[in-house]
C-alpha cells in the first residue's frame, strides 16, 4: 500500500475480525476501519466471510447509536488479484475520513468526567458562585 495513513493488519480470514477489534481500534485512535475480505464464494474457510458480513451489518447499527458516522467502518470484498481496486477503495475511504475529520475518541468523547455545565437561570448569582470555588475530586 502506498497510502501512509493506513495501518494494515493481516488476518487469515475476515471472519477473524471480531467487533471488539474494530471498537478497540476506534477507541485507541483510528479514524476509521476498513475490513477487506475475500468475495463470498471464495472463502478458504467456506463461509467465514458471510459471518463477517453479518457481524459487520449488526456492528454498523450499533455504531450508529454511539454517534460513529457510517463511513468510518466499511467492508470490502477484494481478491488477491484486485490490488488496484483495493488501493482505490482505500484512497476513497481516506478522503471520506478527511472530510469527516479526526475521531479522537479517547480525547474528545471520553475526556475527563466533567460535571454537566449549567446553562439555565442560576439561583444565587452565577458570578458569585463561580468566583468562589475550585475543583478537584
Amino acid at each position: 500500500m502506498a497510502c501512509s495513513s493506513l495501518a494494515a493488519t493481516r488476518v487469515m480470514c475476515s471472519g477473524r475480525v471480531e467487533p471488539d477489534l474494530v471498537l478497540k481500534a476506534l477507541r485507541e485512535g483510528a479514524d476509521g476501519v476498513l475490513i477487506a475480505g475475500c468475495h463470498p464464494g471464495e472463502c478458504h474457510y467456506i463461509e467465514g466471510n458471510l459471518k463477517t458480513l453479518r457481524r459487520y451489518t449488526l456492528l454498523k447499527r450499533l455504531l450508529a447509536q454511539f454517534g460513529v458516522e457510517p463511513e468510518r467502518v466499511q467492508l470490502l470484498w477484494a481478491s488477491a488479484s484486485e490490488g488496484p481496486a483495493l488501493a482505490e477503495a482505500v484512497d476513497r475511504m481516506t478522503e471520506q475520513l478527511r472530510a469527516l475529520g479526526p475521531l479522537r475518541w479517547k480525547a474528545s468523547v471520553l475526556g475527563s468526567n466533567g460535571y454537566h455545565p449549567m446553562a439555565a437561570v442560576p439561583c444565587g448569582g452565577e458570578a458569585e458562585v463561580s468566583d468562589r470555588l475550585v475543583a478537584e475530586v
Binding site: 476506534l26 458480513l53 457481524r55 449488526l58 447499527r61 454537566h116
Partner: protein, 346 residues
Amino acid sequence: MAQNGKPKFAMYWAASCGGCEIAVLNIGERILDVDATFDIAFWPVAADFKYQDVRNYPDGYIDICLFNGAVRTSENEELAHLLRRKSKILVAFGTCSYQGSIPALANLTNPDSIFRAAYLDNYSTDNLQGVQPQPLTQVAEGELLLPAFYRTVKSLDQVVPVDYFIPGCPPEPHQIWTVLQAVVAALQGGTELPPRGSIIGAGSVAVCDECSLEKHEKQIAHFYRPYEIQPEAGLCLLEQGLICMGPATRSGCGALCPQVGMGCRGCYGPLDDVDDQGARLVSAIASIGVAGQLGADDEEELARKAGLLMAGIADPAGTFYRFSLAHSLLNRTRYPGNGDGKGEKL
C-alpha cells in the same frame, strides 16, 4: 481484623435501586449468622449511621464494604473515595458498581437531553420559568448544596481500586451467601481469599451451561420481539429467534430468566478475559444468524439479506450493552460539545 469486638461490615448504595440490599436480606435466616459474625458500621437502608460517623472512623476500620450502585454524581464519587479509605476490603457489589448496569444506559444519551426531558419538556411538569436543580442554591436561611451531576456514568473501579467484584443485577442470594461464608472463614479461620481483583460469587462458564432448555443447532433466520411469538416450552429461546444473551454472559444466576420464557439480558456481565460484553454479543448473535445462500445470491443480495436479518434486532446498543456500558470500549455516545480534551481519566 477489628481490635475489639466483631469484624465491621458496611454496605452502601451509590446510583442504585436498593435491589442489592434486598438481595442481601433475601439470604433469609442466614442474616442472623451475618449478625452474629459482624458489627454493622454503616448501612443506610437498615441502620442509622450517618456520613459523619464514617468520616470519624479510623482508616481501614471497616473490614468489608459492599459498595453497590454506579458513580453518577459527585456524592457517589466522594463516598467511593471515603469508603475505599475506611475499608480493608472494598467489593464492587452488583452490576451497577461493576459495569454501570441500567443507570449507565444514560451514556447512550447526553445531559442536555436528560435535563430537558425531566425539567423543561416534561409532560406533567409545570415549569414556565425553566427552573433547574443547582449544586448551590441561596435560600433565605442560607445555602443548600446538591451533588454535581456527571456527564458520564462510571463503574466503581473507574474511580477507586476495587478488591473484588460480585456480578449480578442483583447478585443472587445463594451466591451472596457463598461469598459471605468465604469472607467469614478468612477473617476468623485465616483461610485465603481469592486474589485481589477477582470476580467472585459467580461461575466461569456461559449462562447456556446452566440453562435447562434444550439446545440444538443454532441457525436463526429471523429475530422476533418477545410478544410476536409463543415460544415452544423447553426449547432454547435463541434458537426460536428470541434474543437471549446467554452465550456471552457469565453463569452464576442459574439461568433464571430463560426458565420463565424470557431471554437472558446479560446482567452477570461478560466471561473472563472479555473487555466488552456488547461486542462479544454482536459477534455471537451475528455468528449464529443465517442470511442468504452462497451460489444462489449475489453480493448485493447477500448484503441485503444480512441487513434484513439484523433489522429484526430492535436496539442493538441498548440491548447488548444493557448492563455493561460503563465498562464498554466506546463507553458513551458522542454528542455536540462534549469532551474537554483533557484526556482520559479512566
